[in-house]
């Protein structure tokens, strides 16, 4: 395929990205995306996006290339204590409620689309800051992402200054140690965390730590197709305990889109609680 079918090749590629990862792209991003994909074409010795599409569709090594592709097409922007009020809500409102209702003993949280782990570690720091461990409550924070490079970075726990943009001087020195011009998370904040690669958009997703009391999935669903959005929320519904909480990013909402989660206003923020499907 060539010339006349450039649009077709591009659509095939975008459809594949959407089918595999649930991600959709605006047309205006095309040039940018093309320039990011070109090095992959070069590395594989392929001359066109059509050839690249066929590689991704049928080549025996497509699995490895899909992982490369995932690194390219995901936006991994994140930082510690992004939308900081969510972490306050978690320790001040959600955890006390959960421990009176169900006395979990072990609080199980999922950070879905965790990127380099900033969100998962922020949860740990918040729980530790509120001395939650002294109440006898322990936690397990599972954190997953599609992008293998980001998961590796999360495990490494080494961050650029930009990741700490919402931390004041005190927070910086309390939770990190400087390493050259980067920052290493202090080991005690890794407590209870576990990072793994997972694709939220696939059918039949298996999450090791389920059921969860709380799921954070912030600034992920905005990039998803309608189909992937629904599929992911069905996973969340399945893997949350009854009455469990879902935290979304400020630009994301379930209102009018899902009635199996109930919006709840907690201190001027909206979070969602699992409702049984057919009450």
């Amino acid at each position: 395929m060539n010339g006349q079918f450039a649009e077709e090749e591009w659509k095939l590629l975008l459809d594949l990205v959407s089918r595999e990862f649930g991600l959709v792209f605006q047309d205006s991003r095309r040039r940018h995306l093309e320039s990011r994909l070109l090095p992959r074409l070069r590395a594989l010795g392929l001359e066109s996006f059509g050839a690249y599409y066929r590689y991704l569709a049928r080549h025996p090594e497509r699995g490895a290339e899909l992982r490369e592709l995932a690194r390219i097409v995901t936006n991994n922007e994140t930082y510690f204590f992004r939308e900081a009020h969510h972490f306050d809500l978690l320790v001040q409102q959600v955890v006390p409620q959960l421990s009176t209702h169900s006395r979990p003993g072990l609080l199980r949280v999922l950070s879905a689309g965790c990127s380099s782990g900033d969100e998962a570690y922020s949860i740990v720091i918040a729980l530790q800051g509120a001395l939650v461990d002294r109440t006898g409550l322990d936690w397990q924070i599972d954190a997953c992402d599609l992008n293998s490079a980001r998961i590796a970075q999360a495990r490494e726990g080494l961050y650029e200054a930009g990741s700490l943009r919402a931390c004041d001087e005190l927070g910086r020195s309390a939770h990190f140690s400087a390493q050259g011009d980067r920052f290493r998370l202090r080991p005690e904040h890794r407590k209870g965390t576990s990072f793994f690669e997972a694709n939220l958009a696939v059918a039949g997703l298996d999450l090791p730590g389920a059921p969860y009391h709380v799921i954070f999935c912030r600034n992920v669903l905005i990039y998803f197709s309608e189909e992937a959005f629904h599929r992911t929320l069905s996973h969340f519904h399945r893997t949350l305990v009854a009455g469990g909480y879902l935290f979304l990013g400020h630009a994301e909402s379930l209102i009018g889109r899902r009635n199996d989660f109930q919006p709840v206003r907690l201190c001027n923020s909206i979070v969602y609680r699992k409702q049984d499907k057919n009450p």
Binding site: M1, Q4, F5, E7, E8, K11, L12, R31, H32, S35, G45, E47, A51, R54, Y55, A57, R58, H59, P60, E61, E226, E227, H230, R231, L233, S234, H237, G256, R257, R258, N259, D260, K277, N278
Partner: protein, 658 residues
């Protein structure tokens, strides 16, 4: 199945898709058009465009009760395109003003030439909503035939003035400049008129727009004026000498503008900031240059500022040195990358190679590359050894731009004892520069024990002119390392080295992963002599190779290709059928019309798209009715291909008539 809860959108979609092939199809589509989930609705719209008659869809336009259904019907009619036009035109002439209004809007989106003339009389419709919709539609369709009538409306009913000004701006016909300028001081119309003039970008409007920009303090209007002035300046690069620009030199003007533009450069709004940048450069407000350089250009916009600054080269050169001393590294890097400098800039640039910021050092490398100054070679060779990736990549690019002899500086990097990574970088420079220097060393490295170096050396040889190096390169086909062999295949194809074809064919007996690359290489070299060998391999090859064999055969176009492709089209794998249909529609003649029509009904949209294109290529009048149907295919891309094919057919028939 319980299908009324929101979370079951996926189930409802599956049900709709199943119903699309059943007798209750049309009813199911209408239900889908009303669905609360956009996912289901989008699919229903595509099916409606394909299966429901325009008359049926138009009924829903009148439905005041159900806005969702009305919008969905509108979207479906838009997707029907030419198929819906006759009925929509009849609605514009009908008794129901609301339907007429919607019909005009839809015609506007369909944007087919055939509707323009029919919309003209509606400009004087007694219902002002309809008249306005017609004004907007004709503007959207850039209907120059509407210009005189629109100019008339500009002076008429206030209700229509806005729409007329905006439409004239879109159409961009010079006849409208004078009448629009006359309305420039009309309080109510000013903003829209300014926007229209900015869109048109006519040189004659610079002076009046600039006068008002300087004197205006009404905010949204002033921003609008800025956008328009910048648009006119950008559209007319030759305006440097016109008297209007002289206004920019009055001190009071500069003071007033300076403050306003400085504020905009500090803002996030990229469009306003860019327009402010245009003024900064044209008015040569150098005190604002750091603010302009410190802005990160959006990707794809990098060359814009550089291009503008080149137009005031003399002044830019004079102001350049202090910018290199600026405390903000973004300004220093920006000055190196964007501001034109003179031939004597070498020492200043070389000094920047010592900057403490790696971004600035990389920018200095790029700048030295542009200067093509041989004396920079040794400093750049040092930068090539930097541990900072940005810096050594920039140095490599710069070195490749220097005059040939400068690359003698790379000798130490290529010496036998040099560090492997260093050697690779140096070879990378030779490759980029298409240089034949250090020839003996490069040849020796083709036989080095380290595969990465062998590959890098082969790439250098790959850029040698003529065919003298072909033999050396072809030796790479026998390399022990598969990665090197694959790279060699690619190098040979890039050189269009047909001499290598027999060797490539011989290697076909090798297995995975080399064979995949060989097949593709033979196709790209259009090695028709290899066609029968590829056909023989087809049956026993794994799927991904079979797909590439078909692609390669399509490129070679050997005798008997159509018969082969016909077989492949019977395969179950969709990717195989896709590449087969691609080759088929390119090679097929008029006698394959029926097969093409059958492919145009295929369940797979890619196959349909190919067939649609093929029908246009054949250009037979009997394709018209098929294309009409394809023009409202559920897949918008197929619909677009069909519309283009219909245009081609129309062109053919006009040609025949003439």
């Amino acid at each position: 199945m319980k299908v009324d809860t929101l979370s079951d959108a996926q189930e409802r979609l599956t049900a709709l898709q199943a119903a699309a092939a059943s007798p209750g199809r049309d009813q199911a589509i209408v239900v889908g058009l009303k669905d609360a989930s956009p996912l289901v609705r989008q699919n229903a719209i595509a099916l409606a465009a394909r299966h429901l008659a325009p008359e049926v869809l138009a009924e829903f336009l009148a439905d005041d009760e159900d806005a969702i259904l009305r919008n969905a019907a509108q979207a479906a009619l838009e997707r029907q395109g030419p198929h819906a036009i006759p009925h929509l035109l009849s609605l514009t002439r009908g008794a129901d003003p609301e339907l007429a209004f919607f019909a005009v809007q839809i015609l506007s989106t369909i944007n087919d030439v055939s509707a323009k003339q029919a919309l003209l009389p509606l400009l004087d419709h007694s219902d002002r909503n309809i008249a306005q919709a017609a004004v907007e539609a004709l503007g959207h369709m850039r209907a120059t035939e509407a210009v005189p009538a629109l100019i008339r409306l500009l002076a008429g009913d206030p209700w229509l003035q806005f729409a007329a000004a905006s439409a004239l701006g879109r159409i961009g016909d010079a006849r409208a400049v004078g009448p629009l300028l006359e309305r420039l001081d009309d309080e109510l119309l000013a903003e829209i008129v300014v926007e229209a003039l900015g869109r048109m970008g006519d040189a004659a409007t610079l002076a009046p727009l600039l006068d008002r920009l300087v004197s205006s303090d009404r905010l949204p209007l002033r921003d609008q004026l800025l956008l328009a002035v910048a648009a006119v300046l950008e559209r007319n690069p030759g305006l440097r000498g016109v008297p209007a620009r002289a206004r920019l030199w009055r001190p009071e003007v500069r003071a007033g503008l300076g403050e306003y533009l400085g504020g905009l450069l500090a803002m996030h709004d990229a469009t306003l900031a860019r327009s402010a940048g245009v003024l900064v450069v044209h008015a040569e407000l150098w005190n604002l240059m750091p603010a302009l350089l410190a802005r990160n250009p959006d990707s794809g916009e990098e060359g814009w500022l550089e291009g503008m600054l080149r137009r005031c080269r003399r002044r830019a050169r004079a102001e350049w040195l202090p910018l290199l001393q600026h405390s903000d590294p973004r300004v220093r890097a920006g000055a190196l990358l964007q501001v034109p400098f003179g031939a004597g800039a070498g020492p200043a640039l070389a000094a920047c190679l010592q900057d403490r910021d790696p971004e600035v050092r990389a920018a200095a490398c790029f700048a030295l590359g542009r200067l093509r100054e041989p004396s920079a070679a040794s400093a750049l060779a040092r930068a090539l050894r930097s541990s900072d990736a940005r810096e050594h990549a920039a140095a490599a690019q710069a070195l490749a731009q220097l005059p040939r002899q400068s690359l003698a500086e790379l000798a130490p990097d290529l010496e036998p004892g040099a560090d492997e990574e260093q050697m690779e970088r140096a070879l990378g420079v030779l490759e980029q520069a298409r240089s034949t220097m250090h020839r003996e060393r490069v040849r020796a490295l083709v036989q080095d024990g380290r595969p990465a170096l062998r590959q890098a050396a082969l790439r250098v040889l790959g850029r040698y002119p003529g065919h003298a190096a072909d033999g050396w390169i072809m030796a790479g086909l026998r390399d022990d390392d598969t990665v090197v062999r694959i790279a060699t295949v690619e190098i040979l194809v890039r050189r269009r080295c047909r001499k290598a074809i027999p060797a490539l064919v011989e290697l076909l007996s090798a297995g995975h992963p080399l064979r995949y690359h060989l097949v593709r290489a033979l196709g790209r070299l259009r090695a028709r002599a290899a066609a029968s060998r590829l056909q023989a391999l087809y049956a026993g090859a794994p799927l991904h190779e079979r797909i590439e064999i078909v692609v390669a055969l399509n490129q070679m176009a050997p005798a008997g290709l159509l018969a082969f492709l016909r077989e492949v089209l019977r395969e179950p794998d969709v990717e195989l059928r896709r590449v087969a249909s691609d080759g088929f529609v390119r090679a097929a003649g008029a006698h394959e019309f029926e097969t093409m029509v059958a492919l145009a009904r295929d369940a797979d949209w890619v196959v349909r798209n190919h067939a649609t294109w093929g029908l246009g290529r054949l250009g037979l009048p009997e394709a018209q009715s098929h294309l009409m149907l394809l023009a409202r295919d559920v897949e918008p891309l197929v619909a677009r291909t069909a519309q283009a094919a219909m245009g081609r057919l129309r062109g053919n028939s006009r040609g025949r008539d003439a």
